[in-house]
Symmetry: C2
Subunit: 244 residues, 2 copies
DNA sequence: CGTCATGTTGAAGTACGTCAATGGGGGTGG
DNA sequence: CCACCCCCATTGACGTACTTCAACATGACG
């Protein structure tokens, strides 16, 4: 049974997504091709492939990752509900990274060809797509700065703080706590660190009562300390963010 | 004297930009607010500011850079003719990085408010904006992978090869040669390396007859060797790329 | 002819990576 | 209920690619 766009779970409750006009809801209903449920450990989009689909994550988490020819892996970003994935293939013709799930996941499926329809008939939604691409571009510039310039403890503080904020935005975090269904290896690959060094640095952050990752839970214990460690501006847009 | 959009220098000759319909040219003429000429060393867009303008680079080069609170600097990307800058501020409200010139530069100026007009009246141009944002997102994901996973010599090989390809796309490179109006410090900051190590690594790449940077010129001597060093897929889109 | 910016070089320190072993929890099968 | 395995977290020892410091060289410019 497919979720109705007029009753999208992401737009309910305290989440930071704006509501749509009825015409926009009707449009989304029309282009929604279906719903996809997948298990943990599933490859959704494959590097080098040419997927005709775009997805919006309704629930569940995963990683966007890029595998180099040596087998080195970079986690580009963690994937959370509300994320729109596949735009690069939709726009550029071929995926240059993969998306893999780490939990059960439910996704909305759209056909790539309908993206163009959106630009001609629903400019506000099209603008939202651009907004999201620009937001992701901004995030990646920040990630590049952190990985390029900061030492291990600050990278980790930044990465987990950013994850927490994103989880909070979609109603998945409260009081410093959130689910973190990833391995230390995933975190290491996201921040350009080795597994061993990530493990040891995580331990010291735990001892310093700053944050802790255990049993798949992330606990931010000292927001102030992280703000001081992280050299980038962590202020977030206060406005609602779009969703496709 | 301002350049006419119908005679845009970027769309002439062997450059990889598509031509526009006459309606599109008329639209561009209408929203073009003016032209800006600046000297080397000029800050165009400032981190933390709220510029009401968007720019397309007509000629000249520079850097997009992010300064951390410690003073550490990350060069996010080199800026070349054809680049569209200011979208993040245009879409998200505030610049999170700066753009600075390293040569004389001429830019087309647009008002941010006209971006919305473009989405309502010229969907194809709006789609092009999204295409460019997705392309930049792709580039940054690749940069993150390289900085996160590869050793110094491969980072440099990747960075300079990518620069060469981009320069070639806009007709500024031939036979392995192109202008490179940046300091070693800029390259180091782009790749997350120290100046000293960048210098020594550049020297070894020169001795190995792979590439050389001297007197503001970049010379790619051995494309094949670079392809082997660089662990990412260097294939480029063969289609024409958009320009705003 | 001094000053400034950039490139170059050597020496010394360290944050990080690699290697390798251990331990624990959760499945699965006997 | 135990035995086995697999995946992942943890720990210690060791090596090194990188950073930092500091000095010097070069050319442009006024």
């Amino acid at each position: 049974m497919s979720t109705d766009c007029g009753n999208c779970p992401l737009r309910r409750d305290g989440r930071r997504f704006p509501s749509l006009t009825s015409a926009q809801v009707a449009f989304m209903r029309r282009i929604k091709a279906g719903e996809l449920h997948v298990d943990p450990g599933t490859q959704l989009l494959m590097q080098g492939s040419n997927s005709p689909q775009l997805f919006t994550v309704l629930s569940g988490m995963g990683v966007r990752e890029k595998t180099l020819q040596t087998g080195d892996r970079q986690v580009i970003n963690f994937v959370l509900p509300g994320d729109f994935i596949g735009l690069q293939a939709g726009v550029m013709g071929e995926m240059q990274h993969s998306v893999a799930t780490t939990t059960d996941m439910t996704l909305c499926v759209f056909n790539r060809t309908d993206l163009w329809t959106m630009f001609t008939s629903e400019p506000e939604l099209a603008f939202n797509v651009t907004w999201m691409a620009a937001a992701e571009e901004h995030f990646l510039g920040e990630a590049l700065s952190v990985v390029g310039q900061l030492p291990a403890d600050r990278r980790i503080a930044w990465g987990l703080r950013r994850f927490y904020d994103r989880a909070e935005d979609v109603g998945l975090a409260r009081d410093g706590w959130t689910r973190f269904p990833f391995r230390q290896q995933d975190l290491a690959d996201a921040l350009g660190l080795s597994l061993v060094h990530t493990n040891k640095t995580l331990q010291r952050l735990r001892e310093r009562q700053i944050l802790s990752v255990q049993n798949g839970d992330l606990h931010i214990m000292d927001f102030g300390a992280i703000d001081e460690m992280v050299e980038v501006d962590m202020t977030r847009a206060t406005e609602e963010r779009p969703l496709i």
